[in-house]
Symmetry: C2
Subunit: 566 residues, 2 copies
Amino acid sequence: MTYRAPLTDIAHALKVAGLDELVETGAFDGADSETVTAVLEAAGQFTEGVLAPLNRSGDQEGVRLENGKVRSAAGFAAAWKQYAEGGWTGLAADPAFGGQGLPKVLSLAAFEMAHAANMSFALCPLLGEGAIHLLSLHGTNRQQDLYLKNLVSGAWTGTMNLTEPQAGSDLALVRCKAEPHGANYRITGQKIFITWGDHDMTDNIVHLVLARLPDAPPGVKGISLFLVPKVLVGDDGKLGAANALRPLSIEKKLGIHASPTCVMGYEGAYGEIVGKPGDGLPLMFLMMNSARLNVGMEGVGVAEAATQKALQYARERRQGRSPWSKDQTALIVDLPDVRRMLALMTAKTQAARAICYATAVASDMANHAESEHAREAAKLREDILVPIAKAWSTDVAVEVASLGVQVHGGAGFIEETGAAQFYRDARITPIYEGTNGIQAMDLAGRKLGLENGKAARDLLIEMRSTQIADKTIAAHLSDAIAACERATDWMLANRGTPDALGAATTYLKLMGDTVGGWMLAKGADDAARLGLARFYASQVLTLAGGLADTVESGSAGLENAAILGA
Amino acid sequence: MTYRAPLTDIAHALKVAGLDELVETGAFDGADSETVTAVLEAAGQFTEGVLAPLNRSGDQEGVRLENGKVRSAAGFAAAWKQYAEGGWTGLAADPAFGGQGLPKVLSLAAFEMAHAANMSFALCPLLGEGAIHLLSLHGTNRQQDLYLKNLVSGAWTGTMNLTEPQAGSDLALVRCKAEPHGANYRITGQKIFITWGDHDMTDNIVHLVLARLPDAPPGVKGISLFLVPKVLVGDDGKLGAANALRPLSIEKKLGIHASPTCVMGYEGAYGEIVGKPGDGLPLMFLMMNSARLNVGMEGVGVAEAATQKALQYARERRQGRSPWSKDQTALIVDLPDVRRMLALMTAKTQAARAICYATAVASDMANHAESEHAREAAKLREDILVPIAKAWSTDVAVEVASLGVQVHGGAGFIEETGAAQFYRDARITPIYEGTNGIQAMDLAGRKLGLENGKAARDLLIEMRSTQIADKTIAAHLSDAIAACERATDWMLANRGTPDALGAATTYLKLMGDTVGGWMLAKGADDAARLGLARFYASQVLTLAGGLADTVESGSAGLENAAILGA
């Protein structure tokens, strides 16, 4: 079996996340329920029929650098053409630029299916989304006309060029140079880990590149952002000569083999500034925040795909005896420990989906809610949820993909089965677009600091005030919320100290576990969902008190480097 | 950097595990402390100098099936020759068969280093150990003379042939046939997942094969065990014609690429019975139990190697600012969240090592303690610890290898760095030699049932009675032991029910977490080890109460298959 788009679960999660309330704001003309259904069904068909069949072949074939150009895996260029023609690249973009103006949450639901079907492929539009978001807000009219519209239509693709060998998580160390040249700039330097930095799927690629002007101050304040096309574009929109940039090499990676990860060389390349000199970091964060939530979505997608594959296997494979089945040799889905793994995979995947969709709805509401008060509240909610959506969902992706291998037993370790690919592919998601450690620092630092903890407190208050009918769930959830309250108090009291830095990852896990359990409980509107929410409560929320204890132990002696031995 | 044998940590763990008391039994003539030190140092040199340099090249090259024969990766055959000549294949074997008669725990310490340096290579002698153990106890004099001595010397290697396509964890389904032919048998059938089932490192391979006699009853009682050489052996020990067996194909796997995993075809091959007809299962378990502990050791090895690599990287890579370092750009080892990951990796690796060594000492003591009472107590201890040593240590291996990738950030996802290989290689360890789910069933079922829970209770009593001076550790440990006591009572009260089966994996994790923390605390004889034990207590033992709550939720609604959706 290949991927089947979980349309019922997705529609349910959109409802729980508040899609209806979002549409009621009137900000999304076209987003009536028929349209929503039609978009989801079309995304399901496209991802099942076009993207999923290229997932394993792309993994096996990988990408090649030939004569200075990246060749994508067989079928990818044709799939991109269909993807663009289907309007998938501009789902949430402004109609003024050729987009469909649908809610971000709906666009992300479609992305989830693309990630699940073919993570390597979907990474390309994921990065394009960041560029579209940025240029919609900060591009000049000319940039919007010449570049943005082609990104929205999918005629071209976009990339983010941040990392350099010495500058990974720490962008203060960026050295790439931008020298004024007429009204524009010459960009020189090397960038690494550039996803889809080169390929043969479209005629042009729009690179957004962090670099320093000659007179820029050191550190992050000296960084500016530049638009650097692969092929020069005339004022009439016609493609001209090649720009002075090229992929120097591509990485041999653990996973996402069909997604080229390039070292890019800029050799005095033509570049246009986006925004003002020195605005690089905030502009980069605009792209990055869009990408962070989308990477969380990627986690949901690969977790969903891994769960489906494991479930399918467990419903066909017979071994041993079950206390619940009369079969002489049981289907392994009927063995308690296997069903436990599958239920954990299902529950965590659904919890991660709920968190990501809720983050997207908050983001939409932050722009479109009717009152300023509602927009501000939604912005706070988005701010606190983004690092959780990114980090918790991607940690879940790795955990679920690993459980998926385990459910398969020995067969899971054989590449042919496909479970191993999810385990390999998923492993990048806690790393890129800000490692999960960075997300934890963001949550424990800047996000917790907003209005002295208001974002976290508002969330906890809303969780506390939710009526949960099921007694088992209500009891576990109440304990878990109490653990979150205690840990939040402690994190606020210690904000910025080494103790809080040492406890940040555990705090994020505690918050993610609890918010996920709360969302499953809120959405438990039938017996199956209620059973799953109860299972999650008794398997995951039970650990919340211990996690809060761990948070309160702070850095737990880590300040002494001798703890790691000689 | 490549692997460095952690001789200080290993010597420390051997001491805490009770090697001295073992030697004092007088059962191991040669095992004075100079010999122990010399063996460990020699193992360190050999694994660092010979095996580790072949780890990445073996991963990249893999193995090939050419003209019906498996070709090992470059350098492996020469390394095997050195391994055999060094006496490593017979470290714990009986001197009567050419072995060195050293304690099993010392042999396993040497194995740990081999696993860490090159997991693919070390798998070959791991399986040979099982065959040596079996034939030492149950081989005929002729089998010991013709086969066992060659296994002990490393002239030949051994395999275990259990699995068939329809019979993985459930050996009742084995179909391979053994038909009487003169005094011996003709073996016919197909076996899968046969590690080092064929290779070019030695002249012969001794296969131990589960099969059914024509008149055998169905189920596991109808299984017998056969010795089937790759090349026929004359009564004079000379090699004759090829036997009627061959590797049909090799698997393309997620990891351990240099270890051939074969589908083996037996086409009326000559076989000799080992033990009596119908003894297959208990004899197989003799081999399997030896292999299970050794797979736990493999988990320790790969976790150690992953930790070393991550630590090395974190001590070279600079990014961001640290609250503990005055560097403008800090080494990432000085970032609290990175140091947290490294400390968790270090602590869990050391805890897993302590558990595995303690299991090995119990096994040695079960054979060699002076009083029958002490031997019986040691056997109970070995019985309860084997599933924990196997499952907990290998889950730790996967967790630690994954953290190792994370510490590297983007570089961890690039194969060249080497962190990804550990992540891939480690993933098989929770699967083979009995999945970790099977280990949990063994612990919660047969092992907990021994003398109505005596094995678990004796362990908990010993843990309770250990004086821990450090107050932080003592408090967390006491809580964790209480959680184990509560969970053990519950598991005993519910033994054999679906609830206990659903809770078994969580129970095993709880026991492993706690026993590991207890062992770290027992061994905390300097400031660094005390710091690490305290860190573990505040990060891991804190979760014990929640795990016990999870155990008590039993199968938590899993009996309803609808929990998994349609």
